[in-house]
């Protein structure tokens, strides 16, 4: 928060004051009030404020966007003029001017409460210090943040805050990253006058993720506002009054939100901390690695904190376009799955049906021998939902060299619509959803993945119609895809399946934000679900969709009246038989309500898994429909959720992956691979934004990166792939899908409305949409190995 820097600055300036000529003064006096020791220096200082331009850079690189240049007003912060848009608060003006105002209750993404009083500043002609977070800046206002009045006000507030705060920093998990600690060092007094008994508060049970030590609470109400406004679960409240005031749920209640972990981040003290992380490490022991999340298609930006070879915790990173500063609970807490059930040695199943650990050389030789014994069309490859683009590229290249083109990524179904990028991307963009004013969610189950999406949706538009078309096929046929909420999934999931809350929690959060901000209308087609915002449940089967397409449904007028209607289709429909019919119905709806225009593309697909978008970009499309039934050689690259029931019993199965999950039980050979925390890989999220992971910890045992294993296998099999380095693979990827190389940029699909597809002759079936995600907390190999996720599903999903 820059407060450490502030503290440092305060310390530095006091040193300068005590020793006016530091070169000649070796002995430094330590005094709490340096001005008293050196009155001349203290007096001289305010008269000549150093024109320190470096100091004036906006806090955290804040940029000001003037929607209307005429709305700019000028205020003076510590004498420096600064231009800000109308409606900014005094605190925001100070941030633009580069002055970091201490605060506890103010959070830029929550409503303003103004109850901590830490942000008091002096404003000229105001008789009292004003709370800057709640005070609108007025033209010509002269704000003073560094005067004795402001300093004394802060010191007084800090003394009150510390009155009932226990002195348990040494045993507090927030110690070292605590706002209260930092700010009391920078702004507090070195002594207090409180001699009475400190109060104590009963701890609350908020579930398996959030640990509470309510005595430490300073009643900033950030968690209450987060739960109400962002997470959409009105469970937390401020109970009691005066010194008996406490945060709680009153009745015994667990926090069932899929975003509940974020209260740990917003809590400025150690009242709400992470239960799985409790007493595990200190934050200064941790090494942060900025990477991205792969448990859903949103591609939330995360920071993996590791100590030595262990992943200790996962925190969100700010990315306004994707996850803002939230992440879903699955993203935050699945990391203990990385330490269990790991595959660390290549293994071969012997004649007795038992696995035996072997050397890489032997394992590769066996596979290379078998692959030459089967016919090319009997070779099938399936990429898993956690696969990175590099390994999928290598897999496709390798199998192509072996003469097969039966490669696909689980979750995309057997006939993915990979020809047009707009057919499988969240075309509006996750942040673009905030502009929508009507949502139709079709069969998405944002529930998991979509929670984030839902949040997005909330924030997006006044008429958000969410059609949840829940594709029954999704769940039954390819539970893998739907199980796993991905960045892409959130958007789609919201629309089509159970609820975006499960498919893409961050997208759901975005929808929720939009709905809250603009009262966008949301229509939902899919299985009954609990979206945490106002919505109309239009139906459970594609028949409703047909009615809307034929203008026979009351929701049609909402859609056609909307300026920016957004239709979000869950990736679950990829697995349905009548996929084409549903898509053509959706396209008709989009055409009717003018959802696709040059300036707005409101036809969105919300993918479920991190690998899906990149797989479709790279053209991982199976050649024949029933390749599994006729396969003799099946290469599973981390694919655990493909249905292997129809696989011939004499087929040879190679499983390459990092966890001993569903896939290994049918495998003949196991290749251990690295998890996403241990390798560098490219992932594309549901809105088409390519991002790269970075290795945070070393890999386990003999495991290797996925693409390297395939590269080695290709050499042993005599069909050497022409790349030896990651950059080599990437230049190959550039030839296929150049957008995957443009990291952190959203490559929007170029949609050509003129390009009309052949009319689908398929009939829409009346089969209701199914749940794409059965269990939000356990969707892939890593989360299924996680104890914390198992606890969550046991405690939070039972209703």
């Amino acid at each position: 928060m820059g407060l450490g820097l502030l503290a440092f600055r305060a310390l530095r300036s006091s040193r300068i004051l005590t020793s006016p000529n530091p070169r000649h003064t070796i002995l430094r006096r330590i005094v709490s009030t340096p001005e008293l020791q050196n009155p001349e220096a203290a007096q001289a200082q305010p008269e000549s404020p150093p024109p320190d331009l470096h100091h004036r850079a906006p806090v955290a690189g804040a940029r000001v966007h003037f929607s209307n240049p005429e709305d700019a007003i000028e205020v003076f912060v510590d004498g420096y003029p600064v231009k800000i848009p109308k409606g900014f608060t005094v605190l925001q003006a100070c941030e633009v001017a580069g002055v970091d105002i201490p605060r506890f209750c103010y959070h830029s993404r929550l409503s303003i409460a103004g109850n901590c009083r830490m942000c008091l500043v002096e404003v000229e002609k105001s008789p009292k210090p004003v709370a800057s977070c709640a005070m609108p800046a007025l033209p010509g206002m002269k704000i003073k943040t560094d005067t004795p009045i402001a300093k004394k006000a802060r010191e007084g507030v800090m003394e009150f805050l510390l009155m009932n705060h226990p002195l348990d920093c040494p045993i507090c998990d927030q110690g070292g990253e605590c706002d209260l600690q930092d700010q009391s060092m920078a702004f507090g007094s070195d002594r207090g006058r409180f001699t009475e008994m400190k109060r104590s508060v009963v701890d609350k049970n908020l579930g398996p993720l959030v640990k509470t030590v309510m005595t430490r609470c300073i009643q900033c109400t950030r968690c209450v506002r987060f739960a109400t406004e962002v997470a959409g679960v009105q469970d937390l409240g401020m109970l009691g009054r005066g010194s008996g005031e406490e945060i709680g749920t009153y009745v015994e209640k667990l926090m069932t939100s899929e975003l509940s972990g974020n209260v740990i981040d917003i809590c400025p003290v150690g009242a709400l901390t992470s239960k799985p992380f409790a007493f595990k490490a200190r934050n200064w022991e941790l090494k942060g690695t900025e990477t991205i999340d792969v448990t859903d298609a949103v591609g939330s930006n995360i920071r993996i904190d590791s100590r030595g070879p262990e992943v200790m915790r996962i925190l969100p990173r700010l990315n306004e376009d994707i996850n803002e500063e939230w992440i879903s609970d699955k993203t935050r807490f699945f990391y203990d799955g990385l330490k269990r059930q790991r595959l660390n040695d290549p293994m071969i199943r012997g004649a007795d049906g038992r696995f035996k650990a072997v050397s890489w050389r032997d394992a590769l030789a066996v596979v290379a021998e078998v692959i030459h014994q089967v016919k090319p069309e009997e070779i099938v490859g399936v990429a898993g939902k956690l696969s990175d683009a590099e390994s999928m590229m290598a897999l496709k290249d390798f199998l192509n060299r072996m003469g097969s083109n039966n490669v696909w990524c689980e979750g995309n179904g057997m006939h993915p619509n990979a020809d047009l990028r707009s057919g499988y991307l969240l075309n509006s963009g996750i942040s673009g959803l905030e502009k929508a004013d009507a949502f139709l969610l079709v069969g998405t189950q944002c529930g998991d993945d979509l929670k984030i999406f839902e949040h997005f949706f909330h924030s997006i538009s006044p008429l958000l119609m969410i059609f949840e078309l829940r594709l029954k096929g999704v769940l039954g046929k390819c539970p893998t895809v739907l199980d796993r909420p991905t960045a892409e999934m959130p958007l789609l999931g919201l629309a089509l399946q159970g609820s975006p809350r499960v498919e893409a929690a961050m997208v759901n959060a975005r929808i929720r934000k939009t709905v809250r901000a603009t009262e966008a209308k949301v229509g939902y087609i899919g299985p009954p679900t609990d979206l945490n915002y106002d919505h109309q449940h239009l139906g459970t089967s594609p028949i409703t969709l047909k009615e809307i397409a034929e203008n026979r449904h009351p929701f049609c007028s909402t859609l056609s009246n909307a300026k920016n209607p957004s239709i979000i289709v869950g990736a679950g429909i990829f697995e349905r038989e009548d996929k084409d019919a549903i898509f053509s119905a959706i396209e008709t709806i989009a055409k009717n309500c003018k959802a696709i225009r040059p300036d707005w593309n409101g036809l969105n697909v919300l993918l479920l898994n991190a690998a899906q978008a990149a797989a479709l970009d790279l053209g991982l499309v199976p050649e024949s429909n029933n390749c599994i039934e006729s396969a003799k050689f099946l290469y599973l690259m981390g694919a655990d959720d493909v249905s292997l029931e129809k696989l011939p019993s004499d087929a040879f199965v190679v499983y390459q992956g990092h966890h001993g999950d569903r896939g290994v039980y049918r495998a003949n050979v196991i290749f251990p691979a690295s998890a996403f925390t241990e390798k560098e890989g490219t992932y594309e999220n549901t809105e088409g934004c390519a991002q790269q992971t970075l290795p945070a910890v070393p890999t386990v045992g003999d495991a290797r990166e996925d693409w390297k294993i395939i590269r080695a296998l290709s050499e042993v099999a005599g069909a050497r792939l022409p790349y030896d380095t990651v950059s080599g693979v990437r230049s190959r990827m550039r030839a296929v899908a150049p957008n995957l190389l443009r990291v952190d940029e959203r490559e929007a699909a170029t949609f050509s409305p003129s390009l009309s597809k052949p009319e689908s002759r398929q009939e829409i079936s009346s089969e209701p949409f199914g749940n794409a995600v059965e269990n939000f907390y356990m969707t892939d190999a890593i989360t299924r190995a996680s104890k914390i996720m198992a606890q969550c599903s046991a405690m939070l999903l039972k209703k």
Binding site: G308, N344, F355, G660
Partner: protein, 149 residues
Amino acid sequence: MASVVKNALKGIRERGIGSFIREVRDEGYLQTKIHNIGATLVGVDKFGNKYYQKLGDTQYGRHRWVEYASKGRYNASQVPPEWHGWLHFITDHTGDELLMLKPKRYGAEHKENLSGEGDEYIYHSKGHSLNPGQRDWTRYRPWEPATKA
């Protein structure tokens, strides 16, 4: 005063004059004993540390002190918490009185801080190669193929 002399004579008789003088010099024994003249012994804790107080014309803030039981290797962490308050003028209740308030159920025994006294007292975090718990600690648990084969 008389006891000081008596103890000194006893020491000389037992150890001989040479070692007695060396001991007195090395341990500041004489200095401590001279300082203790005229002071009241307020209490002795269970480690044998003696707590003295001298009221009257002693400067306020220097009127309480401790004579450590171990003369050669002493440090401030040898003062148990019940006496700490008295010794540092936090309270006027002596350690013996405060000991009665100590909860029986969960009050831990006082232990001096042994940092710097040898490798076995150094704290090693979990996962550190010198931590004895390291032997039980594994970075990850591999998948066991035998479960179903």
